[in-house]
Symmetry: C2
Subunit: 89 residues, 2 copies
């Protein structure tokens, strides 16, 4: 495997895995006041498009990374919508 | 331009631009209690690796999108570190 490919896999792993601690923090605390609804709306749409892009090129690493990121981003978006109208606890 | 390329540009634009409302919300409110330090630490590292990956392949759209995302992610990370120890106002 080329060095650049290794770097790409590291990048995909880290940028995808990074959303796990955010999902966990939000799930645990329901503290969504500082989380931007605009960010997670637009980001979810962007990641969905990355998924379509990967599928259209049969680029499976792109598909896999973005499918996982999409699930994590949707979780945060749903929690923002659900907990947003209540005071954080 | 192929349809898949258009989708890719749309995806890159949206996933990069999505961080702007988060930077703005955090800058305006200093409300960082619900923002995960783990997420922004790992995400910043991941995006930096995407930037190195793009540079190593001379893939300029990857370089451009990730340079902008890196700047936005670093801003959020710095605000989290700076405002994290104070009560949100």
């Amino acid at each position: 495997m080329q060095t650049s490919e290794l770097i790409g896999f590291g990048a995909a792993f880290l940028s995808t895995a990074s959303f796990v601690p955010q999902v966990w923090l939000t799930f645990r605390t329901r503290d969504v006041s500082g989380i931007s609804l605009g960010m997670y709306s637009v980001f979810t749409l962007g990641v969905a498009l990355w998924l379509v892009y990967g599928l259209s090129l049969a680029a499976w690493p792109v598909v896999a990374a973005n499918a996982i990121t999409l699930a994590l981003a949707v979780s945060i978006l749903v929690m923002k919508l659900r907990y947003g109208s209540r005071p954080a606890r």
